[in-house]
Amino acid sequence: MSSHAEASEKFIADAARTDWHDETLWFVRAKRDKASKVLPEWEALREHASQIKDHTLANLGEYLQAFEAKAQANGIQVHWASDAAEHNAIVHGIIASQESKVLVKSKSMLTEECHLNDYLAKKGIEVVDTDLGERIVQFRKEPPSHIVLPAIHLKKEDVGETFHQHLGTPKGNKDPQFLTEAARQHLRGHFLASEVAITGVNFAVAETGEFVVCTNEGNADMGAHLAKIHIACMGIEKIIPKREDLAIFLRLLARSATGQLITTYSSHFHQPREGQQMHIVLLDNGRTRQLADPKYKNSLKCIRCAACFNTCPVYRRSGGHSYHQPVAGPIGSILAPNIDKKANADLPFASTLCGSCSNVCPVKINIHEQLWFWRQDLMAAGLAPASKKIGMQFMAFVLAHPVIYRLGGSLLRRFASLLNNRLNPWYKQREMPVAPKESFQEWYKKR
């Protein structure tokens, strides 16, 4: 697996495409700005949402138990999983008795986190992703590159070619309307035939034991309402205390994500349909570890709107796949090291720390500060890239020795080109200012 910097280098090799990716996501960010500014109470809503999430995380155990009791009373079966392996085994256990070996799944980053599709494939069960963007990347055997817009890295020509190969659409047809219609017909067949549907969960309400799933396409509902078994998979942090809290989160979610007033469908699953089995799988997978760490705890407030992706200058110009994680972008960069520090040690460095992510976050997560905390922790744990470590140690030495610092300074002012070497990535693709003839100290002494 290549690091974020290496993968980004490949991504930006196509300059025109990089610009297009950058502009496309900035367009989404601009829509978010417009939608939020219409509401004078926007900042108050963010603050309220943030406080509700803080309160929930402080009482998460109680709320989880309240949710479980209510959901069970409503006829929903509740399962708990400590890690991805347990989660996948539970899901398989539920569906193993079914004859059908194909199931439909709507968007769920949690099942990506658990690599559920691969796991079930090994057991002989095919998962059909039904979100259009997810179906596109599934055909291409790629992971989603964005949690809200899974195929945002692709151009319509790419989608046309993929559909030509997998759905038999005419070669060269790249009309989004036409391609969407082809996917509609193809997936309708799966919806009508499928006995099992898996969905994600946007919010789960402790007060009522219901859960809410938001989509624009209607794919989660098409799957869940036609299947005999509905399995909803959620991280334990998706709990909110009261039903009325949904008003705040639904007002924030779509406006932050795509600039819409609300998603087309916000479905509240309270009880199974008559004759239907409904299951909820509650997953930990490192979330309790994050919860126990005051520095990183509030990353669990995330409602997965991806506003931080769309605003991030690094995400926009490096693409989601460079983050090699199901959740990319700034929020992914603070969530991933908790799951595997070593494998994700590069991600907190994939940022300019400009703070734009924290400014757009609808639940006020201090994302850029946590990126900086992770950098410190990873350095201390000896997991930072070797070049960074050596560079930092060298700089620390130089800065601690004024004589060497002054000597080095005067040398480099004369031979600035020395800095432009392979060990110094700072020079890549940057125009550097000309070094002044004298240092500040020399100048000051003359006065």
Partner: protein, 170 residues
């Protein structure tokens, strides 16, 4: 299996015992009320028709009928149902299972017509109106099914209804 999942539950809950005292902020006050339901419907891609226009446009539409099952609904071209109320800030309409022939009805039909007679200003008022014994399933529906997953081009009619027509009956 049961044994194992029980232990996962206890393990998870055991890690959450130290509760700090962080208060819930309570109900949200101070929401603006100045929203236009019709304007929001337009934003979410729905059309508003009068009763007379509806008759001309969709003479052969099917009214809500409990005898339809989920799969036969796939054959329905235009379905007419009743919404409980509309929300002015975002054009969403609250639908409950009781007012639907089947949960899948508003998704699986090709075109959807919803009657609305009550309009609330915003989502806070909407949930306040819902604060009574819960139904088994309900949803906020705002406009026709849509996607922008191919190069951010908006396409109406992804998996759900291809169009939404709202009739405001006063």
């Amino acid at each position: 299996m049961v044994q194992k999942t029980m232990s996962a539950r206890n393990q998870i809950l055991a890690k959450m015992e130290s509760c700090e005292d962080v208060k819930h902020p309570g109900a949200f006050l101070g929401a603006s009320e100045d929203f236009d339901f019709r304007a929001s419907l337009e934003v979410v891609g729905a059309r508003v028709l009068t009763v007379e226009e509806l008759e001309i446009e969709f003479p052969g539409r099917r009214r809500y009928d409990k005898t339809m099952d989920g799969l036969s609904l796939a054959e329905v071209e235009v379905l007419e149902i009743d919404g409980e109320f509309g929300v002015a800030e975002n054009g969403a309409i609250w639908l409950t299972e009781e007012a639907l022939p089947h949960r899948v009805a508003p998704f699986i039909c090709q075109h959807l017509v919803i009657n609305v007679s009550k309009i609330l200003p915003h989502m806070h008022a909407a949930y306040a109106a819902l604060n009574k014994p819960n139904g088994s399933f309900g949803l906020f529906l705002a406009g026709p099914s849509k996607t922008a997953d191919i190069e951010q081009s908006l396409v109406i009619g992804a998996h759900g209804a291809r169009s939404l027509t709202v009739v405001i009956r006063t």
